[in-house]
């Protein structure tokens, strides 16, 4: 009997103190994905990567907005959104206390403005994403042909961009022909 009691005292208490005391989670434990709406450029990479469609984008063409939303009730904490995010706007935290009484509390949304095409006036991309791309191009070394073309195309929607590309290719081939003729 005394032996048993001594053994019990020696072994100590294996039970965690949680919820009476905070629980220490292991390093890199996957918890709630935290969204930083300021750092987000609404590029929708996370929505494409999300396996259970917990992250979604809904575009409102009339209002000219796009709404990012996450449903923590559907999230499987795989971290794919964190992996693909180019601006680190979404990161998995160690927060695990997610249980709720009302299902609406599991949802989070952020709304972003869309940008109009500089030629046809149709909405084509989130304004923040275009501004971010512009700043990246500004930062890139300037005389690169690729960068120069990208800067010209920045304000155009895919359709107008395609048309501009075709005209550029035509101009290019004409110049080449002319040069060949001169020779």
């Amino acid at each position: 009997m005394w032996k048993t009691i001594r053994q019990i005292l020696k072994t100590g208490d294996a039970t965690v103190q949680y919820p009476n005391a905070p629980l220490k989670r292991p390093e890199y434990a996957r918890g709630k994905p935290e969204h930083d709406s300021v750092a987000c450029i609404a590029c929708a990479a996370c929505a494409v990567a999300c396996p259970p469609n917990a992250i979604q984008f809904v575009v409102d063409q009339k209002a000219g907005t796009t709404t990012w939303s996450i449903n923590y009730g559907r999230c499987v904490f795989c971290g794919r959104c964190e992996e693909v995010c180019p601006t680190r706007a979404i990161e998995l935290t160690e927060e695990f206390e997610l249980a709720v009484f009302d299902k609406g509390d599991l949802e989070e949304t952020s709304t972003y403005r869309l940008q109009r095409c500089s030629e046809c006036g149709a909405y084509y991309a989130p304004a923040k994403e275009v501004a971010y791309a512009a700043r990246i191009l500004e930062q890139s070394a300037g005389d690169d042909d690729e960068v120069r073309v990208a800067r010209e195309m920045l304000g155009k929607c895919p359709k107008c961009k395609q048309r501009a590309d075709a005209y550029r290719a035509k101009r290019h081939s004409e110049t080449q022909k002319r040069e060949a003729g001169e020779k």
């Binding site: 919820p19 890199y28 469609n53 979604q56 904490f77 972003y112 930062q139």
Partner: protein
């Protein structure tokens, strides 16, 4: 993904949901506000993958010990105060789920457990599931997670029993005028940054790769000699695996930013050092301490490119 439902919601079949009459609702609210007894739970699997079950049983082990709060797993719904539903509610398991619900005495609480139980999770749009417990019965507490860890489970029961408060709340943010996403590592050229990030992810995975590039770009941006800072980082790294990845990133950086002429100049200087040592070899050979022919061998192996 942007999901468009072509068929309007009103034309899609939805199962009838169990509704509660007023007296039961009142008794349930009273129970939620103040449970003055140990609660018995009945676990009901409506087409889950068994991950949730494993975590529930991890919760009743001595480490997490749910019985501290009087929570006990019971084998029959007739003894249950709380019904824990896991799984995305497959068509086949809807009736057994409803039967378990009807068998349990009122007032009872329903806990929707795991991502599948809360919203259908990864199976939310599958043809053979109803997508969540709340599609068939009224749910009181949602415990998300895939699967919820024992700590998450205990937290869920703790808010149901009134030991802790709910932390997560609905949040809506709208883009403010002039709001801009900050650029990461502005001093590192964009193409160099993305190429190095890709390389580091290839070696160490995205999570550790990110930590590695963070340290690497931090060293690059510190000011002074970039390569000097990077060398310092590599020298001070105690983990040889990390140091190796740093070394590979450094090689990539050198190949991207150092011009060919610079590299040739470096190479020539290195070769001159080798030639100087060759002369030493020749001298040693002449004095008889090295075998004949060694100087020629060394010179052939380290010929200076013209």
């Amino acid at each position: 993904m942007i999901i468009d439902h072509d068929v309007p919601e009103s034309l899609q079949y939805r199962p009838d949901k169990v509704t509660l009459d007023e007296s039961v609702q009142k008794a349930k609210l009273a129970l939620l506000n103040d449970i003055k007894r140990s609660v018995y739970i009945y676990r009901c699997d409506l087409g889950g993958c068994n991950g949730c079950e494993i975590e529930i049983f991890a919760t009743i082990t001595p480490v997490f010990d749910a019985e501290r709060f009087g929570i006990k797993n019971t084998p029959s719904p007739r003894h249950a105060d709380i019904l824990v539903y896991t799984g995305a509610v497959t068509r086949a398991m809807r009736m057994p789920g409803l039967r378990a619900y009807q068998e349990a005495p009122d007032p009872k609480l329903v806990v929707s457990y795991g991502a599948c139980g809360c919203t259908g999770g990864i199976f939310h749009d599958l043809y053979c599931t109803w997508g969540g417990t709340d599609k068939i019965i009224p749910v009181d507490v949602y415990i998300p997670g895939c699967p919820p860890s024992p700590a998450q489970t205990i937290y869920g029961f703790a808010i149901a029993l009134g030991l802790l408060g709910q932390k997560l709340h609905h949040k809506e943010t709208v883009e403010q005028p002039g709001e801009q996403a900050p650029l990461l590592y502005e001093d590192v050229p964009y193409k160099v940054r993305t190429a190095l990030e890709r390389e580091a992810r290839l070696y160490s995975g995205y999570r550790m790769g990110r930590d590695i590039t963070d340290a690497f770009f931090g060293a690059m941006e510190r000011g002074g000699s970039v390569l000097g800072n990077v060398d310092e980082l590599i020298r001070s790294e105690p983990d040889p695996r990390k140091a190796e990845v740093y070394g590979k990133l450094r090689d990539d950086l050198v190949s991207m930013v150092v011009t060919d002429e610079q590299r040739d100049a470096d190479m020539r200087r290195a070769m001159e050092l080798v030639v100087a040592s060759n002369k030493n070899v020749a001298r040693a050979q002449a004095s008889g301490t090295l075998p004949a022919g060694s100087a020629e061998k060394v010179a052939a192996a380290t010929r200076i490119p013209q």
